[in-house]
């Protein structure tokens, strides 16, 4: 196995009226299956999220991505074991279980106006969005998924190849002086 690869933006950080920070390495597994995946996830002590929810805590989460797709977030060291366990648990079922850790970038947005900065980039009604909802949408010109941890903190996932675009976009939208006061 290769050594852990550095993240897309090497932990870039920008302080505007919302702070944008690239997360450290995050382990991610895409699981696609039409059958019931609850037993396979239960074997890893992971719950099954409802429609458009992200459940779990800390570094171990499961997000609902589509009716037959889940994204599992884990500490990077656990990915290989979890992928093997899921593959074994779903043996005989048509499924896909792939380590996508290096294919994605993770950004943390933090600040009291985090909803506003997200609303500037994404065609989403952030006023109605509640913590724990996983929303796949677009940010500017790229596909992105995000959820709110609380009213001040959000996490954004995007493809690694467009990580710089996403970072620069949110950094620009959080420029001091460009506050709109949408959700104040």
């Amino acid at each position: 196995m290769s050594d852990p690869v550095s993240t897309a933006l090497a932990g870039a950080r920008h302080v505007g009226y919302v702070t944008i920070e690239e997360a450290g390495p995050v382990g991610m597994i895409t699981l696609r299956c039409r059958a019931d995946v609850a037993p396979a996830l239960a074997a890893l002590n992971l719950p099954v999220p409802g429609q458009r929810r992200i459940v779990g805590a800390g570094a171990r989460r499961v997000a609902w991505m589509s009716p037959d797709e889940w994204l599992i977030l884990l500490p990077p060291a656990d990915v290989a074991r979890a992928t093997a366990a899921l593959t074994a648990a779903l043996a005989g079922q048509p499924h896909l279980c792939a380590d996508v850790s290096d294919a994605r970038a993770v950004l943390h947005l933090h600040g009291p106006r985090v909803r506003e900065v997200l609303a500037k980039a994404c065609p989403v009604d952030l006023g109605r969005m509640t913590p724990g909802e996983m929303r796949r949408s677009r940010a500017g010109q790229i596909a992105a998924a995000f959820w709110l941890e609380d009213d001040r903190t959000a996490t954004v996932l995007c493809y690694r190849s467009v990580a710089r675009y996403a970072f620069d976009l949110f950094a620009m939208l959080a420029r001091p002086g460009s506050e709109v006061g949408l959700f104040d």
Binding site: Q51, R52, M65, S66, P67, P123, R135, R136
Partner: protein, 106 residues
Amino acid sequence: MLMLTCPACGVTAEETEFAPGGEAHLTRQGPGSGEAAFEGYLFARKNPKGVHFERWRHAYGCGKWFHAARCTATLEVFGTYPMGSAPPPDLIARLQARRPDREGRA
């Protein structure tokens, strides 16, 4: 600007999150069909000014295809429903109420 509700993930979003897929409920003409039928399958579209049944894909969201009924003139969306199913009765009822003069089903 269209607002569509994806039946697969339940999100109501604006049209830039979706990708249009053209007319819905076409019958595929495969090997063994006549040339005229195949040409019609490939090229003949209703292209109405009025109620249109369409396919859309939630391209930036869950990635699933679904059906939508909307008016091409006013952009009013009458409803959406999953792939592989005919328009549900409540959608047809809503359509008839909004467009009593409408002819045919799709």
